[in-house]
Symmetry: C2
Subunit: 69 residues, 2 copies
DNA sequence: CTGTGACTTGCAGTCCGTG
DNA sequence: CCACGGACTGCAAGTCACA
């Protein structure tokens, strides 16, 4: 289980819990829709800057996105 | 307080707690010596791949490196 | 609404050195 | 042991069309 996969799962779970689509979250976090899609499919190793934007819009602590199940 | 700064502080604190120098940690995590120094000075936005390597050698959960004080 | 391939660009990350 | 610099490479970052 890589950290990319952990991030992907946590991102999707918290996004759905917030009732947001990939598009809505992307728009609010000011990043591209397809990039959020890429992250949820483990295509890239996100930087802390992106994690910060996502966590802010999901209204959660950034560390929750990297938390192992 | 940016997430880069949070990472920088947590990295330094956990590194010292493990009794490792920047050089030793870098060598064990198989990343560049000067890059660990750069991260502790908030020069770059680290990727989750690097965070994973660092956390593994520090024997802590990756989420602890992004945890807000 | 989301997955995907193709593409360009800026920065993450490396390697050499210095005081 | 660490901060800091320059130069380099590869990938994250960001955009688009299409299914």
């Amino acid at each position: 289980m890589t950290l990319r996969e952990v991030l992907a799962e946590n991102l999707k779970r918290h996004r759905l819990a917030a009732g947001l689509s990939q598009e809505e979250l992307a728009h609010r976090a000011d990043i591209d829709r397809t990039y959020v899609s890429s992250l949820e499919r483990c295509q890239y190793a996100a930087t802390v800057d992106v994690i910060e934007k996502l966590a802010r819009e999901l209204k959660i602590d950034a560390s929750l996105l990297l938390q192992q199940p």
